[in-house]
């Protein structure tokens, strides 16, 4: 759906995006992570033809950036970093203007569909300036969807929102995701990326890595299982460590933490051994590293 080769943008001597190689598949939610100034917005702007790349190529929905810009504009929707709604116009008017500019055939129908989708149909005549920040953001997302684009770019959709509004917007993105659209999501919120994205690209001027949230964790830390026992001691730990599939074993008070490649296959044997050894198992769980740990170590390692 989106493909870039060697995509580079320089502002004077400052390189904002360097030799970006990306492949975003149809129908996936692709998370784009990176610290401030990493070049996320610049990338989105290049892919939506708002700025021209310095070098390299990109195609969106089969159209080449710089050659078929109008076609790209027709099949993409964008929530810009600052939503930029006309505060002095009503919600309906805001959407109507954009529906017309996006060459929507049934302007009235589409505007009504999305206003109802947002639960704003009754407030369609209200000025956007009077809406809450979360509402405005959702309206701006709808504005990007009016023409049912194949790809939607969302640049930090939840930044600057309070937790409640952010949650509204996040739930909303999940709903859109259910419609099977390709979504390119820039965010600083790692839980959001974890929850919404099929794959995540971490970038800082250059692309550091791309993978599913799960694989990212695993690549860095492997998978870990934790057993809470009524009582645990080092002798027990030593018996488990002797098992061939255990890569790592650790005791923290009454908890045993094991690193293994395939918990689904090996956990039953582990449980059996612990029970036979007389351990009282209270809880068993997977120890998940937060995506934040992953992200920080990825971004930090490039310094």
């Amino acid at each position: 759906m989106i493909h870039t080769e060697n995509l580079t943008k320089k502002f004077g001597d400052r390189t904002a995006v360097e030799a970006l190689e990306l492949d975003v598949r149809e129908g996936e939610v692709f998370g784009f992570l990176g610290p401030n100034g990493a070049g996320k917005t610049t990338t989105v702007r290049m892919l939506t033809t708002l700025i021209g790349p310095t070098s390299g190529t990109a195609t969106v929905n089969g159209f080449r950036v710089g050659q078929a810009d109008t076609d790209i504009r027709r099949c993409t929707g964008i929530l810009t970093e600052t939503p930029g709604m006309y505060d002095r116009l009503s919600a309906e008017k805001n959407l109507t203007i954009f529906a017309r500019l996006y060459e929507v055939e049934d302007v009235k129908g589409q505007v009504e569909k999305y206003l109802r989708f947002l639960g704003l149909w009754d407030r369609r005549a209200d000025l956007v300036g009077n809406f809450s920040k979360g509402m405005k953001q959702k309206l701006a997302i709808c504005r990007a969807l009016l023409h049912e684009p194949a790809v939607v770019f969302l640049d930090e959709p939840t930044s600057g929102l309070d937790p409640e509004a952010a949650r509204l917007v996040r739930d909303f993105i999940e709903e859109i995701k259910a419609h099977g659209r390709t979504i390119f999501l820039c965010t600083h919120n790692l839980d959001e990326a974890d929850r919404l994205c099929d794959r995540i690209g971490v970038m800082k001027q250059r692309l550091i890595t791309v993978d599913t949230p799960m694989n990212l964790r695993q690549k860095l830390y492997g998978r870990k299982v934790v057993f809470h026992l009524r009582e645990a001691d080092d002798a027990l730990l030593a018996r488990v460590r002797a098992l061939p599939f255990i890569k790592e074993a650790q005791r923290v008070d009454n908890k045993l933490v094991f690193g293994l490649d395939d918990p689904e296959a090996h956990n039953p044997a582990l449980v059996r051994l612990l029970v036979e050894a007389g351990a009282d198992i209270q809880f068993v769980g997977e120890l998940r590293h937060s995506l934040e740990d992953v992200y920080l170590s990825l971004v930090g390692s490039t310094d």
Binding site: L50, T70, R73, T80, G84, Y86, R88, I97, R100, L101
Partner: protein, 273 residues
Amino acid sequence: MPKIWTIIDKEWAEVFKNRLVLFTVIFMPILFTALPLIMVAIGSSQADMGDATDLPASYLEMCGDLTGSACFTLMMVNQFLLLFMMMPLIIPVTIAAYSIVGEKTTRCLEPLLATPITTAELLIGKSLAALIPGVLATWLSFGVFAVVAYMLVQSPELLRRILDPMWITAIGLVGPLLALAGINVTLMVSSRVSDPRTAEQVSALLILPLLGIFFAQIIGVIAVNVQLMQLAAVVMVAIDAGLVYLGVRAFQREVTEWANQRMGESANEQIGE
């Protein structure tokens, strides 16, 4: 084409809620209509203008068999009619200055540029949105002026002189064409600056040559006539065509610093409502 109307519709809905723009659109025509009318009223109330010998010779010649007060009125009219030509320039330039830069400061321009609208459609829409109210306001005030002046002086001859082909050409054609030139320069400037006042000030310079003609006429260096006006109209058509073409080519469609959040915070405070 329909996108041009969308832009016009949007501009009118949005720009006229800006108090400064509204003030210019309403106050200027009232001022420009009231001032010459006051002069006419003063002129026509002076009964001893019978011989009118203190008027410039060129006017006496022009007045022919008009009465003194009608002649005086005509002179005033001639001078203020040039202001009527300038009016459609001042109003639209104000609107145009705010229309692009205002959209930058409120960050509405970026999503707009992401739509499949062409630069020409965007600029033509914005030009027309700025031009039409200015021209209509001018025509309306000119009409009001002509009617009230006639009621004050009661001279059919005077009315004929006001509705002279020269003035019809000037106000009907040259004024709007001048305005279009001003708008295009303003749009060109405002696509490259981030403060509406800068755009307005640069464009205000355009009024200088017009003011030059205005004063040249007052002191009697030149007397505008219909041929001069027709020539001006032709020249302006050529200039406008060139400016529209240049404007579309020179318009900076790429988003730049104005679209960035941090820059934006301060810009938002600047936009005086």
